[in-house]
Symmetry: C2
Amino acid sequence: MDGQEAVCLPKLSRVAVCGGTHGNELSGVYLVKEMMKSRKEEDNESGSQPVLVLSNPRATKKCLRYTEVDLNRCFSRDALNSPLLDIAPYEVLRSRELDALLGPKGSPYSVDLVCDLHNTTSNMGLCFIAYSDSDWISMHIFKHLKRCMPDIPMRYIHFDLPQDESYSLDSVGKHGFAMEIGPQPHGVVRSNIYTTMKCGVQHMLDWIHLFNSGRVFEGGFVDVFTLVKHLDYPRDCSTLDIIAAIHPQLQDRDFCLLNPGDPLFQTFSGETMPYNGTESLHPFFINECAYYEKGIALSLSRLRRVKIPAVCATSEQHAVIVT
Amino acid sequence: MDGQEAVCLPKLSRVAVCGGTHGNELSGVYLVKEMMKSRKEEDNESGSQPVLVLSNPRATKKCLRYTEVDLNRCFSRDALNSPLLDIAPYEVLRSRELDALLGPKGSPYSVDLVCDLHNTTSNMGLCFIAYSDSDWISMHIFKHLKRCMPDIPMRYIHFDLPQDESYSLDSVGKHGFAMEIGPQPHGVVRSNIYTTMKCGVQHMLDWIHLFNSGRVFEGGFVDVFTLVKHLDYPRDCSTLDIIAAIHPQLQDRDFCLLNPGDPLFQTFSGETMPYNGTESLHPFFINECAYYEKGIALSLSRLRRVKIPAVCATSEQHAVIVT
């Protein structure tokens, strides 16, 4: 250990891999189906295998993001605990089922890790999206994938929300993140994106196996992009129609620094609208299809380097630090 | 004229530019809205302006391809003339309205030209899709755009169907074609694709203006890709789920020659499936989002060069050949 402190964390005995939380994000849908099929063929039901979940089968069947409300916004503490109305949308009912299967969120019974598979139309490569910048498990898995897949652009995105307010399926686990890969149009599966996701999941499961087997993982650094704010499209005051698209010089340049004065939008009549913020920030989710309705043209983040400690597994239920 | 025969064709007095025939193909939606807005601002209602149509407002509002049935399959002679049921889908009703506005199809009252704007997730550049390889008007406009926009990959696709069976909105005009531009995810507008469409439409209108003003356009050659057949994805016999995606070596290579034995699909477990046809053909609509449900993974075409004559405008109602 070279004198480095190692944080000993509980083993990851129960891991869930979820696809189709958004039913038109097809890499995850087909990857989870393929994993289910392989397992059936191998007739291998060992306890070390992940729980495989098709999160929103109804939306998946229709190849829609969701049928009534966005399932991946239904997992905040309040949303999960509010009284159920008779006319509750399908996704609200489904979120309770998933919380029962993988949670209950915040309880000792929840699975150890949820990896929720997503696609984006944005040119984001492979991203982890997590609510913590000090979840050493998620960050070590990220570091492992970066090492194993050096040709894939990879970033760690941090949504800085308290656990109660965290709203996505991956927040149900003790650890969790969305594995978000793009660019891929929704409703389409591209071999290269599918294969990247498949490799990413396999390397994650490999890491978990090594971790549970007692391997000590050295510390290091992770570059973390913390969400600062969202920007909406310019819109017509009366119709609320968008009146501009992402500027061609910004399109596909997710994570490249956006400086005050840089081209941001191009109106449909051809004018350039510059970024009028005061701070240089890193954009992501540039021109994501599903966010038009949410009023998000892109998100902006601040980058910083986070030091992560060495980690190893313990059979204890709580973290222990050893030297 | 250098002794070249010129075909004199009736002037194009009434031209329609349609967007949103598929409500989630956004370049056409926003281009038609922008053209409507400019016209309003200029307060310019001269007769030489095109008719502007938002074809499927209900699907556009929901950002869906269609609400009940695919509007762009509702314009065959049979479909337009079959008795209307009380429970007719919205798009069937809408197709009658559009036929009344721009047609009736096949009658002397139909508009002279329909340009219907579409987007595809396939890497197809700018394509004209037409039912004729001897519609000199459409082919001359195509040739004009190719000359004016040399940086844009441009192809002329021919669906070899008799007029009665032609099923798309553009078939309602005396001349007509779909202007299909990609790659762009459905539900997304990308500045570069929008701008290409805007330029394409402007050059088309310029050509029509010159043609109507008496300019003689020299003959030449157009490379025509005639549809031969569609290929479906490999599917699971019982669930009908696809079990493979377009092979990464074929993805985005629309119009590049596909030879027998070339990689065609990659299964979700990683195996390559080759093209087992006997003839080398040119693929297009490779991995188009909307065609998963239609059972089309890609279409195959045969390429040949078509000679087109010089053309000029006449005030007569029918074509005349002059030397």
